[in-house]
Structures are given as C-alpha cells and as structure tokens.
Symmetry: C2
Subunit: 334 residues, 2 copies
C-alpha cells in the first residue's frame, strides 16, 4: 500500500507514521511507501526508513503529489485553533483550501483511496438556541464557535460528499484534545491541557488559564493513534452510513488532572502550577464541549484511556524511552 | 441603502428585487441602489428602474463588485440540485467557491453588511445512523445526501463564522421547495413539484416521477420572498444566536397536490398528469425531508401558506396579472 500522512512531521502525525511503519501493514496489505507531507521535516527515525518519502512545504503546493495515486491517506495537517482565531485567512487556507486541494487530487487519481480526516471535538459549541449537552455525542448538532471548528466541520461534510460520489472512501475521526503533548506550547487554545502536566514535570513553573472546575474530553497520544488506525481499517458498513465519528474521550476535570499529577509525581511537582485566568483562552474553552461520548467508536471496539493517572504515566514512560529524563522529567523528585 | 441580489435574474431573485423596489426601503432606510448579479439579465421591468444596476456574468468574475461596499445582500445565486448531481465541479464552483468569493469581497469592504443566504431544506437527509424525523426542525442534525445540500450547509457554517468574527451580519434562510414556479422545467430534481401543476394548467400532458404518497415541504413564491425580507430585517437578537433558520413549510402529499389541482382547475386539467416513476429523481427525493417545521421562523411572525389550493390560486392570479392567460393557463376550462 502507498500511504500518505499529511502533517506527518507533527507530534500525532509522526507517532502515527512510526506506528504504521512498525506494523508494516494496513488491512492486511503491506505498506510499501509512506509519504509524509508537512511544512517541517519529520523526526530522524522516520527519515531513516527506506519506505518513507518526505515532501516538505505547504499542502497548497502539493497538488501533483496528491494526484499521484495513494491507496490510503491520513489527513492530519492543520493550523491549530488559536492560530486560526488570530489569523482568519491562515485558517481558511490551511484547513479549508488545503483539504479541498487534497480531495480534488485524490479524485483526479481516480482510484477511490481510503481516507481518514482528523476532525475535532471543536466542531461542537453552544449557541443560544442549542446549549451543549454535558457530553456531546455522535448525533449532537454541531455549532462550532471557532474558525478551526467551522473548517473541520465543513471538511467533514465535503469528505462525506466526495465519498457518496465514489471519489473517496472517506471518514472523519473527531479527535479529542490530545494530552500530554511533549515539547513546547503550541498556538492551540487547548495547549495548556498538556502544559499543566508537562511543564511542572520538567521543573518549570506554569499557569492554568481556566478554573479548576472546567471539564474537558481528552485522549492520550497512544490512544489517538490507535483510534486513527482502527477508523481507517473499519469497513464502510461498520461505520454505519454516518462518516464523522467521535473518538473515545476521558472526560476529566482540570482540578482532577492536577490531583492526578500530584498522585503520580508528588506535591512538589503539582505546586508548580498556579491558577491565573486568561480571558481570551477561557472564552474559547467556554465554547467547547465539557465532555464527549463515543457510542459508534465503542462499537468499533475503541475505549477511552483508563484514567488520567495512566495518561500521565504514559507520558513519563515515553519521555524515559526517548532518553529525555533530564529535559522533560527534570522536575520529578528523584 | 445599497443592496445586492445575487441570482436576481432568476425567478425568486427577480420577484424579490421587484418587491424590494416596490417597498422602496429595508429596515426603514431607503433603497438607493439595487445591484443584480446574475448570468442572465433580469426581466425588463427591473431593467427599467433607475435604481437597478445589472452585473451579468458568473459570480466568480464579480470580485470587485462584491468588495464595492453594500449595506445589504441577498445571496440567491446557485446551481440547482439536479445540475450539481450531474456536474460535480459545477456545484463546487457555483455554490461553494462563488459564496466564498462573495464573503471575502464583503469582508474586504469592511462595513459588516447584513446578508441573507438562501440555504435549502436539502441540507437534511437520512443516513443509516440518523433517520429523518417526519418533520425536520431547526435543530435537526443535517445529513445532506446531495452535493447541492452539502454545499448549502457548508456555506451556512462559513457565514456563521464570518458573522461571529464581525465581518458580516449574516443569516441563512433554509428555503422550502418553491412551488409553483412558472416557465420551463429547470435542472432541479424538485422541478416536478411545480411541473405537475404548471404543465396541466398550460394544457400540456406531463408525468409525475414519484409516488402519490410522497410528502414534501413547499412554499409559494410570495411566501418565500416575504420570508427572505423578514429574515433580513430580523435583529441578531431575534434570531437567537443560531443563524440558520428553516422557513415555514406547507407539508403536502403529492396525491393531495393533484387533488387540489382538480378542485381548483377541474378534472380535465388533473388528468393531464400521469404517474411514471423516474428512478433517478425518486432516489434523490427519497433522500429529502418529508416535511419540515419552523419554530424560529414562527417566532419571527412567519407562517406557511394557508393551503395548496391557495398556492395554485396564487399562481393562476400571477399568470393573469402578467397577461399570460393563453400560454400559461391555456389548459384551464373556459
């Protein structure tokens, strides 16, 4: 199989590419080529794999690549929510126009490739006529309150229509907030959900921009990657007609995330997080789902992470495996 | 006020333009200029009005016009459902790209114009996880089953986001099937809903491509135009946060439409309609709403047509007023 991962240089994308290379197959068919399209190069271990072909640049410059005939596509490339709120045209270009160009390229190739689009729980939001339920479900009416969520939702519907017409075999997996992300804060308004765990573990003081009572649906990187592959491998029949699907979420309260941090890493680490409200971030988060359910993902055998403790432990194990004890875990008591 | 009507050369658009010129004002402010953008020129009476400025050509060629600073816009131009099913790229271009270009032009102008987008009941459709209710409501989850409905829905969400950002004061009115349309059949899959009334009244034999038990939400041209103006004049507060709104529908059974035709025009006229199933049309119609409700439009004071008899009588009166007795009503017994 010839597979394309857009955004394969990013955190989730690189982790997905690594997992695909390790499995060596999808739907029982060997992966012979893994193309990675991203603005930044992927990590060295991916570059070293002979099956990997790298295409650096914006997606809008990749029309010939998209039309070159892939068997499967994971479309993860995206500008993040905070960036799109600050730069309206960037959002349109990176999240709407790029997806359209990708779909049209795949349609031109004419081989009806299977495609998983990384949509987002950000398609949901409250409006005056339609308050959000405590847990948004697969059939909750979306009312996105950000450009990011708007464009993700528009792409879901576009992919459903290309699929109905037989140009693709597409499906949209609505990712929950991926937590704990390593590295530095990014422009996502949800960045702090990782920051309040990652920074104190690294020994860095940080702030939490929302109240302890805020609840949010999260998923670990390992769970997210597993879900993306399962959704890819699901038959159209198993998806049951509707092509946008909520991925499983652990619905967690910010105060409980910090309690879990204390339980796993000790009070000294926990105390590096101070509550300091950021009105801009708090306003964006107030427009998001407080929790999510995922009946249809469950029917595919997918389950949320067992606990937020397990999510923190996964992050610590990942950092140890990558030999990043000093930089990423320097705040852990010895 | 400087007003733009896209699709103002079409049936609903021209009727709307005529009504606006006759009222002379919107929201209490005089209409000083009425720009009509369409591929075909509008009727002569509109051309003769000094306030009317005509811009002939595809919308995609009208970027400078869109950025020229309008106070209000009625965006009605659209390729119709049947056309979009037959020509996928035409649909993308005419219904998605054109709307995007219009919105970006209006945003560039920088004066936050009020805009009404003519969306459609075609945003609703059944899927295996989400059967349609007997009457689709303002909060029914859309699952469009045509490219036309998909693009309309995408534009609704795009307009909501431009509005949230303060670039527009937009709202999307979901039109029901407009009936009775005069003139010739068009490419819309719903064209027969008018055809089975219009053709026999003109003395022409015609076929009905779906069963008598098919039910459908319809509205007269006069009601549709009145609703578009009311939705334009509604304050954002009156719309209650949600910007897409179902217009009122008369939910009617095909068999009862023909009975009304017989009641109004006699059995001789009714007998010119023969049932002859068209699988392509029937499949498209099977993916549409069987009826609609419109609680939010009702809160704005809007009501459906009183009866299908009244809709037929409106058509006959319109044709008489236009002096078209011989051609349009030649089948009526004298």
């Amino acid at each position: 199989m010839k597979i394309l991962v857009t955004g394969g240089g990013g955190f989730v994308g690189a982790r997905l590419a690594r997992e695909l290379l390790q499995r060596g197959q999808l739907m029982g068919r060997p992966i012979t080529e893994l193309a990675i399209a991203d603005q930044a190069p992927p990590p060295a271990d991916l570059l070293a794999d002979a099956r990997v072909k790298v295409h650096i640049g914006t997606l809008l410059a990749q029309a010939p690549l998209f039309a070159s005939g892939f068997d499967g596509v994971f479309h993860l490339a995206s500008a993040v929510s905070g960036e799109c709120e600050l730069d309206f045209e960037l959002g349109l270009r990176s999240n709407l126009d790029s997806t359209r160009l990708l779909l049209d390229g795949l349609r031109q190739a004419g081989n009806t490739p299977r495609l998983v689009f990384s949509s987002s729980v950000a398609v949901f939001g409250p409006d005056a006529s339609n308050p959000l339920p405590d847990r948004v479900g697969d059939l909750t009416l979306p009312s996105p309150q950000t450009s990011y969520g708007t464009h993700k939702l528009m792409c879901e519907y576009l992919i459903a229509d290309y699929t109905r017409k037989g140009y693709l075999d597409g499906r949209s997996a609505r990712l929950m907030t991926v937590c704990v992300r390593p590295g530095r804060p990014n422009g996502a308004a949800s960045s702090f959900f990782s920051g309040i765990i990652r920074e104190p573990l690294a020994g860095i003081e940080t702030t939490c921009p929302v109240d302890a009572d805020v609840t949010h649906p999260v998923a670990s990187p390992a769970s997210t990657v597993r879900c993306l592959i399962t959704v890819f491998e699901a038959s159209p029949e198993a998806l049951g007609g509707r092509l946008a699907i909520n991925l499983p979420a652990l619905n967690v309260r910010v105060g409980d995330m910090l309690q879990a941090l204390q339980d796993v890493a000790g009070p000294q680490v926990r105390q590096r997080v101070r509550f300091e409200r950021d009105a801009r971030i708090a306003a964006i988060v107030a427009g998001w789902a407080r929790g999510a359910s995922a009946e249809r993902a469950q029917a595919l055998g997918l389950r949320p992470d067992a606990s937020f403790h397990a999510i923190i432990e996964q992050y610590i194990a990942d950092m140890r495996a990558a030999g990043l004890q000093a930089s990423a875990l320097g705040g852990l008591p010895s």
